[in-house]
């Protein structure tokens, strides 16, 4: 029989998960949404059968993680453990909430989060070792999101405090979600439309490059709240003095300054990556394109763009993930988005409400990163071969 050897990262994961399961509390119970709560261990938070199942699965997954085992097995163990955790927290919520009590709140406690982190790490590590093709990564993402969707729709999480916050804000939640996505994507589209041509211009006109990139770099260093603030005055002035501006929604506060700020932040990565991508096009290919009789435009579209595309996409990926996060701050100046819940929650010291804004933001950013990474890899056919070599 093969000797069992300890896996370094796995040992840490195992220690974390065991600590999360047996020492730290699993769920918090509060009589209403703002009072301090009392914490419950796995044994207290779950019905007896459930706690046995959950602890059993955690111990099995920990065993797989701790020793050197095949990556597929580690991945399966991680996903099974994560799924059990997800189901378990829903069960805990129902179990802890007294029948008919609508004020009581149950939320995940430190033990849950530690285990979530530990098994999330295990899954990420296993996926890294497996190096799945880009398409497979997207499939895994869709499967995970699908599983979460089913949990949400089936109502098994309805007892959780974050969903109680959601239940009392169904309409505003989706309106803010739409605003958030529109803000993040809209500013990205605008930045791409303006940034790529600017990048091409910088690439062709060397003197322009340093100046423009310098300005964009400077903008990037302005703290976001300050930038929102700086924009209030000029946009307010435009709203008052330019006929029709106010009618299309330009105001000192609200969506307009948020949009403009995100747009300005997005420009640097797009322009810089376009410049870097175009500069990386092999000299010979460019030379041959000219020598063969392509016009400047044909060379740009047919040779330079396709070759620079993966690098430009990397810029777009940075911008999208950054914008999804930054759009939260737009709420501060009345721009809407998930930030609305975050700042309301902070104001009311209602942690659940903060999470209602934060969790969807994180999930969106994470999903966007995975999807765009996959697209980038698919757009550069040579990279995987280079890695293999």
């Amino acid at each position: 029989m093969r000797e069992l050897r300890l896996d370094k990262l796995g040992a840490i994961i195992a220690a974390l998960a065991l600590g999360g399961a047996f020492i730290a509390p699993f769920a918090t119970f509060r009589a209403n949404r703002i009072v301090a709560g009392e914490v419950k261990s796995v044994l207290d938070a779950l019905p007896a059968g459930w706690s046995a199942v959950l602890l059993g699965i955690v111990v099995c997954a920990v065993a797989v993680a701790a020793v050197r085992s095949p990556a597929v097995l580690r991945l399966v163990a991680a996903f099974v453990a994560l799924a059990t955790l997800a189901l378990g927290i829903g069960v805990a919520a129902t179990h802890l909430t007294p029948e008919g009590n609508t004020y009581a709140r149950v939320s995940p406690a430190s033990g849950f989060w530690i285990m979530l982190f530990a098994f999330g790490l295990l899954a990420a590590d296993a996926l890294t070792r497996l190096r799945p093709a880009p398409f497979v990564r997207v499939v895994v993402l869709v499967a995970v999101l699908g599983f979460i969707g089913i949990l949400l729709l089936s109502g098994s999480w309805d007892g959780l405090s974050i969903l109680k916050e959601y239940a009392s804000r169904v309409d505003t939640f989706w309106a803010e979600a739409r605003k958030h996505v529109t803000l993040a994507l809209g500013s990205l589209v605008a930045a791409t439309t303006v940034g790529i041509p600017l990048g091409v211009l910088c690439h062709r006109v060397t003197r322009l490059r340093d100046g423009l990139l310098g300005v964009l770099n400077a903008i990037q260093t302005i703290p976001s709240i300050a930038l929102f603030g700086i924009l209030i005055a000029p946009l307010g002035w435009i709203a008052v003095h330019v006929p029709g501006a106010a009618a299309v929604g330009i105001r000192g506060i609200g969506v307009a300054p948020a949009f403009v700020a995100l747009f300005l932040y997005s420009l640097l990565p797009v322009v810089a990556n376009t410049v870097v991508g175009l500069a990386g096009v092999p000299r010979d290919a460019n030379d041959a394109a000219r020598g063969i009789g392509m016009t400047d435009w044909q060379r740009l579209v047919g040779i330079e763009f396709p070759l620079a595309f993966p690098v430009i996409l990397t810029g777009i990926r940075i911008v999208l993930v950054q914008n999804i996060g930054l759009a939260t701050i737009a709420a501060l100046i009345g721009g809407g988005g998930f930030g609305v819940f975050v700042f309301q929650g902070v104001g009311q010291t209602a942690m659940d409400l903060v999470l209602l804004g934060a969790v969807p933001t994180v999930v969106l950013a994470f999903a966007a990163a995975i999807v765009l990474d996959a697209v980038i890899e698919m757009a550069s056919p040579n990279t995987r071969q280079a890695e293999a070599a």
Partner: protein, 312 residues
């Protein structure tokens, strides 16, 4: 006809091509040789205006090459760049099809042309057509580069060290193919090389460049018999001269009446090949077979020795 007239190119202080004038007859092969950095590539690139000359003019069939927009001019002139310059994101077939596509050829015609060229350069179209350049060896990439330059059947072809990465066997084959293509399409070729063997094999005329100037522009025979400068002489290689002289003339021009023993040599072979065969087989004379295979005379060691002798 290509007329290069007092063409000069300066980069800042340095004169890279210095007052060069050459007249290249239609349907001939002109080979440009010279040390590295002597301005060969620059001269070539001024013909298709990838480099704009500082002064002077170039005319193609009497028409100034500045009469057309640069890109239109370049579609009519095939150009195989130093290195291969293939487009890494396009397949071999797409690379070759580039100019015909730009010119708006019909699809079927393009496909037929791609297949023809790949086969011509000993690359199986079914296997190589769909591959990407990085999946080819250096020599294969180079052949694809030349095929791409030939795709639109240009009347003028500029080639910058096109066979540098080929092994001797494929190189010799590629050279013969090039000559066959040149005869067939009546192409005018300007080719840059560092390989004197290649220069003498392909050239109708050779231009020797040194520090931006053309120091001699002559037929291979003239160059061997009367090198204009010591530089030309050293480039040809003093020890190689008699052999090169024999290499550029066919056996048919050295046939003497009479008979000889042993296997005959073809009258189309070079005199150098005849000499090699004489020395190797230890004979004094070889029978010579005409194109139809009938023996038409002999070629002798003595006769070849006279022909290999330089001017007294």
């Amino acid at each position: 006809m290509i007329e290069i007239e007092n063409i000069t190119k300066r980069y800042g202080e340095s004169t890279v091509v210095d007052d060069v004038s050459l007249t290249i007859a239609p349907r001939t092969v002109t080979v440009v040789v010279g040390t590295s950095g002597s301005g060969k590539t620059t001269l070539l690139r001024m013909v298709n205006r990838l480099v704009e000359p500082t002064s002077g003019a170039i005319r193609l069939d009497g028409e100034d090459n500045r009469a057309l927009p640069g890109y239109e001019l370049r579609r009519r002139i095939g150009y195989a760049i130093q290195g291969h310059g293939l487009f890494p994101h396009r397949t071999v077939a797409e690379n070759i099809a580039t100019v015909p596509t730009l010119l708006g050829w019909a699809r079927a015609r393009i496909e037929a042309k791609v297949e023809e060229l790949l086969s011509l350069f000993q690359l199986d179209p079914a296997s190589f057509g769909p591959r990407f350049p990085h999946e080819l060896s250096g020599g294969q990439q180079q052949r694809v580069g030349v095929a791409r330059a030939l795709a639109a059947e240009p009347k003028v072809l500029l080639m910058d060290e096109p066979f540098g990465a080929l092994d001797p066997i494929i190189r010799a084959k590629a050279q013969d193919d090039l000559l066959a293509i040149q005869k067939h399409f009546q192409t005018t070729i300007i080719l840059v090389t560092h390989d004197m063997e290649e220069a003498f094999h392909l050239a109708d005329r050779i231009a020797v460049m040194d520090k931006g100037k053309v120091v001699q522009y002559a037929t291979p025979a003239e160059m061997l018999l009367k090198p204009a400068t010591p530089f030309v002489e050293s480039l040809i290689g003093a020890g190689e001269r008699p052999y090169r002289l024999l290499a550029i003339a066919p056996v048919s021009s050295a046939v003497e009446p009479g008979a000889a023993e042993g296997a005959p040599i073809s009258s189309a072979a070079s005199q150098r090949e005849a000499l090699a065969e004489l020395l190797w087989s230890g004979r004094d004379a070889l029978p010579v077979a005409g194109p139809d295979g009938a023996v038409i005379g002999k070629v002798s060691l003595e006769g070849l020795a006279k022909r290999a002798a330089g001017p007294a």
